[in-house]
Subunit: 216 residues, 2 copies
């Protein structure tokens, strides 16, 4: 068994998700930083680890490489079950995965750095337009998410009941990302409340972008 390595970048919100999950489960790992703006993730060395050339990628203690943050979190939850990231019942798990994937499939991919760069390169979008694009897709999903998180009794202190899990992880990483593009959180009091409850917890704070060795 060797050390566990997380290939990541402090500002990447998908990396942030995995860092929170690792911290919640108390798993030690080596932090391997790849500076996305410098293109380090596109070099041969990293492509031999993850052919997709994206972060995060987790190299487990037996050498297995797992890419894609949602797949990594499911693996961690199966391999190191405590504390669980998903509820015990199938209906609860479906709700948490649904809430998680609203962020992971509808917001993050279209607001990813490589997409924002493509808007600049292909269409000449300036910083103001890139910001408007970012906020547009956040709001398109945060509106229904706020509505769905207003459901009682499913939502508690956290997205699903009173223990933090996968949906909270996705939510916190997205809210952190939003700050870089001045998303107005006023219409989302429930999302903000859950974010604030998470940030009271050591695992979420420890995993935050500003607390990483490559933070700028």
């Amino acid at each position: 068994m060797n050390e566990i390595v997380l290939h990541n970048y402090f500002r990447s919100s998908t990396s942030y998700r995995v860092r929170i999950a690792l911290a919640m489960k108390g798993i030690d790992y080596r932090y391997a930083a790849h500076h996305l703006r410098h293109g380090e993730h596109r070099g041969e060395a990293y492509l031999s680890v993850n052919p997709q050339g994206l972060v995060p990628a987790l190299v487990w203690s037996d050498g297995t490489m797992i890419a894609q943050s949602m797949a990594i979190m499911e693996f961690l939850d199966e391999t190191v079950p405590e504390p669980p990231l998903l509820p015990a019942d199938a209906h609860g798990r479906a709700r948490v995965r649904m809430l998680s994937q609203m962020i992971a499939c509808e917001i993050h991919p279209v607001n990813n750095l490589r997409i924002l760069n493509a808007l600049k390169e292909r269409y000449g979008a300036d910083d103001a337009e890139v910001g408007a694009w970012f906020r547009h897709w956040v709001n398109a999903t945060f509106e229904p998410l706020e509505k769905m998180l207003s459901e009682r009794p499913q939502t508690g202190v956290f997205c699903h009941g009173d223990t933090p899990g996968m949906a909270d992880i996705c939510l916190v990483a997205q809210v952190a990302n939003n700050k870089r593009f001045d998303v107005d959180m006023t219409p989302y009091p429930v999302i903000q409340r859950i974010n604030d409850a998470c940030m009271e917890l050591e695992a979420f704070r420890k995993a935050a972008p500003m607390n990483q060795p490559d933070a700028e």
Copy 2:
């Protein structure tokens, strides 16, 4: 217990994923069509079912609504275990989820109809440019996906071994979508081979867009 309802649209590749999963598991359901180009999914009636106003959404026999195709497939696999959509071991499941999410998080979201429409509306992209955008993001992920699927012995007749599962479902739905934008499949012989193996199976054929009641 009431009937199971799948809110979907024949051409939606995320709907196609769920139709394949339902067909593989032999689950009967009512087909509720929502014409995306006519905006039916944004009406009050449908928003009361799924506040996000997207398809697919599954209403289970007990009335529970589950949105997000990846969450729906995980729910179906937990609730109706046979035949499984995921391998029995955590490492295998991680690999299948990783391959699935490369498509579900990196290709589909940025090539979704609402994104393509936004490129036209915000940047005046014409049909040729929209096609170039679509192909760019397919190729950006299909290149590493082809490489990862060339790994033996993990890949077999299908993405993971010799039984079809979640990654094959995502692959087939994406390959079908690619045809609408003339993606050259020549560089992807493994992906094409797996797609063709899937299309030999009744469940994949039955779920295909052209075989749905709202097909045009």
